[in-house]
């Protein structure tokens, strides 16, 4: 029976076209712009890697680029670590599981803007933690990372971990619940303590899931914009800048399309670098 799928094709055509043009076409366009001599306006004269050389000679970009790794590594480790820990603890059949899960997950429902502002206030030396501890009596207590150029980027980690650990917890918990219960019973018969069972048996079984989580967090780090804008505004100065903000600032405020495109292309490259091995593994695993 030949399936007449004309209607299906018709429905899909606009989607496919839009995807091609807007996602892939535009990405290629940006990549192309990054190798032209564009400045405030697009200039389609070929310029080789000139934009990239200029980009990496720019102090602000180097700060943003380094920040991405500093923030990224800590954010991944923190979010994954806390998320897995919370999932494991809740998997131990605690009471009030519903209440705990509700509390750990709610930050995901609010905007990164709200998260960023909230943590800006909490970490602010004038009204936040430093102020609080000083009022308690320790008048020399200092915790002003958020206004220090050398420490500001790390404050983003607090907000990032706070916002996203719940997601990792939910994903890992679902994975833990899918583990065959007889494996747990076997560990009880063999006198294997729970922590050892998680470390040596259960979490390794969830390796694909954990890799997925790492990829998710990493890509979120590359895309970060809202969080930086709200929390530190990229400051002080541009000390806590990130590539995601750099691109938007240079494209719109500074009106330098060439640099913005080059930066965006580097962002894309970063995403692909994280994604390519992951997708390759995922797809080959599914084929098997």
């Amino acid at each position: 029976m030949r399936i007449r799928n004309l209607a299906a094709k018709t429905v899909l055509t606009p989607t496919v076209l839009v995807m091609l043009v807007c996602f892939y076409g535009c990405a290629i366009w940006t990549a192309y712009l990054s190798v032209t001599r564009s400045a405030m306006l697009p200039n389609y004269q070929f310029a080789g890697f000139g934009q990239y050389i200029r980009l990496f000679a720019t102090a602000r970009w180097n700060v943003a680029w380094t920040n991405m790794f500093l923030f990224g590594v800590l954010d991944i480790v923190g979010t994954l670590g806390l998320g897995v820990l919370l999932a494991v603890l809740i998997d131990r059949q605690v009471r009030f599981e519903g209440a705990f899960r509700t509390i750990f997950l709610y930050p995901l429902s609010i905007s990164f803007i709200v998260t960023g502002l909230t943590w800006q206030w909490v970490l602010s030396p004038t009204i936040g933690i430093q102020n609080f501890v000083r009022e308690l009596g320790w008048s020399d207590f200092v915790f002003d990372w958020i206004v220090r150029p050398d420490r500001a980027i790390y404050t983003l980690v607090f907000a990032g971990v706070w916002h996203q650990s719940g997601l990792i917890m939910a994903i890992v918990l679902a994975g833990l619940r899918g583990i065959d219960r007889e494996i747990w019973r076997a560990t009880r018969v063999e006198a294997i303590p729970s922590w050892r069972a998680y470390l040596s048996i259960v979490l390794p079984m969830l390796r694909p899931l954990l890799v997925t989580c790492v990829v998710l967090i990493a890509i979120a780090v590359v895309r970060s914009y809202d969080l930086v804008v709200a929390m530190t505004g990229g400051g002080p100065g541009y000390a806590s800048d990130l590539p995601g903000k750099f691109v938007v600032d240079f494209a719109f405020e500074r009106a330098n399309i060439g640099q913005a495109s080059a930066a965006a292309a580097v962002m894309l490259g970063s995403v692909l670098t994280v994604l390519a091995p992951y997708l390759y593994l995922e797809l080959s695993r599914r084929d098997r």
Binding site: I3, N5, A7, A8, K9, V11, L12, V18, M19, V21, C22, G25, C26, A27, W29, T30, L33, L89, V94, T102, I103, L105, Y106, L108, S109, I110, S111, F112, I113, V114, L117, T118, W119, W121, V122, I127, G128, N131, W162, G166, L167, A170, I171, A174, T212, L216, I219, Y225, D226, G233, G244, V248, I257, S261, A264, M267, L268, V271, L275, L279
Partner: protein, 285 residues
């Protein structure tokens, strides 16, 4: 079994409660500060509960907070966000459902390729295609307008929505589809009469996912919505970062709460649908 296990359990609960505090305290601080007077904020730490509950800051945030240009309060942004939200969510969910359905049972040539392309598209950062998109939308004439932002939201929602629905429909038994075809039903008939009635749960999940994502969006709204349609998040940030004179923390925090309230309410009301939504959105179906 006995003391060692009990200490272990106690430690477990202690840690979980500690973590719960870590997650809850920032929000509680924002709520409590929004209920204080500026005087109180100046003299006491934000971690101290308010002496009395004063909603003046909330009123001001809603009606009179200043974004530097005008002082209309966030209620302007609220209604803008609503006007952006409703069409965007409806259309992107619908588009995702239709596309997902078309890709699931109809054996379209190249379906796997399309799905892969969608998967990749879901990972592309906005910044990579931002400028070209601005160019395209202004050429079509919808840049900096309500239709513009709606179109952009639909665009960015396509990959995740399509993947979500596609995986759902692919999980339904093939026999349902075949039986309907044997009965003579065509593409649209099967969609409306067979698939949609079974999709209630996934529709709720998709709606929650899109509502949360679109309401909380900042960057796209900032660039594509136009000055008259700035969403609440954009207004909020503008209010909180204007530093003319003394910072009215209570007003800023009230504004933040008002912005966070709609998706928070959706979250508390929807429970496992929300969880399913974000996990499915993360793992792309």
């Amino acid at each position: 079994m006995g003391p060692p296990v009990r200490i272990g359990r106690f430690g477990l609960y202690a840690f979980l409660v500690g973590m719960a505090l870590f997650f809850a305290v920032p929000l509680l601080v924002v709520i409590s500060t929004s209920l204080k007077s500026l005087d109180e904020i100046r003299h006491f730490s934000i971690f101290v509960p308010p002496s009395s509950r004063d909603f003046a800051a909330w009123w001001k945030a809603w009606y009179a907070a200043c974004t530097g240009l005008n002082c209309g309060g966030v209620h302007v942004g609220f209604w803008n966000s609503v006007r952006i939200l409703i069409p965007s969510v409806t259309l992107s969910v619908l588009a995702g459902a239709l596309n997902g359905y078309a890709l699931s049972h109809w054996r379209v040539p190249g379906a796997d390729l399309i799905l892969l392309a969608l998967l990749l598209g879901a990972f592309i950062p906005y910044q990579v295609i931002l400028y070209p998109l601005v160019k395209i939308t202004s050429t079509i004439g919808i840049y900096s307008s309500l239709p513009g932002i709606i179109a952009v939201h639909i665009l960015f929602g396509l990959p995740v929505m399509t993947l979500l629905f596609r995986n759902f429909y692919a999980g339904l038994p093939d026999e349902l589809f075949k039986a309907a075809r044997v009965d003579g039903a065509g593409f649209w008939r099967i969609f409306v009469s067979v698939m949609l009635p079974l999709s209630v749960n996934i529709l709720i999940v998709a709606t929650i996912l899109q509502t949360t994502g679109i309401w909380n969006d900042y960057l796209l709204g900032l660039i594509f919505a136009g000055r008259e349609n700035q969403p609440m998040t954009v207004q909020l940030n503008a209010i909180a970062t204007t530093s003319t004179g003394e910072i009215e923390y209570n007003v800023n925090m009230a504004a933040a709460l008002l912005t966070a309230l709609p998706p928070l309410l959706v979250y508390f009301a929807s429970g496992r649908f929300f969880v399913r939504g974000i996990t499915a959105g993360a793992i792309k179906g």
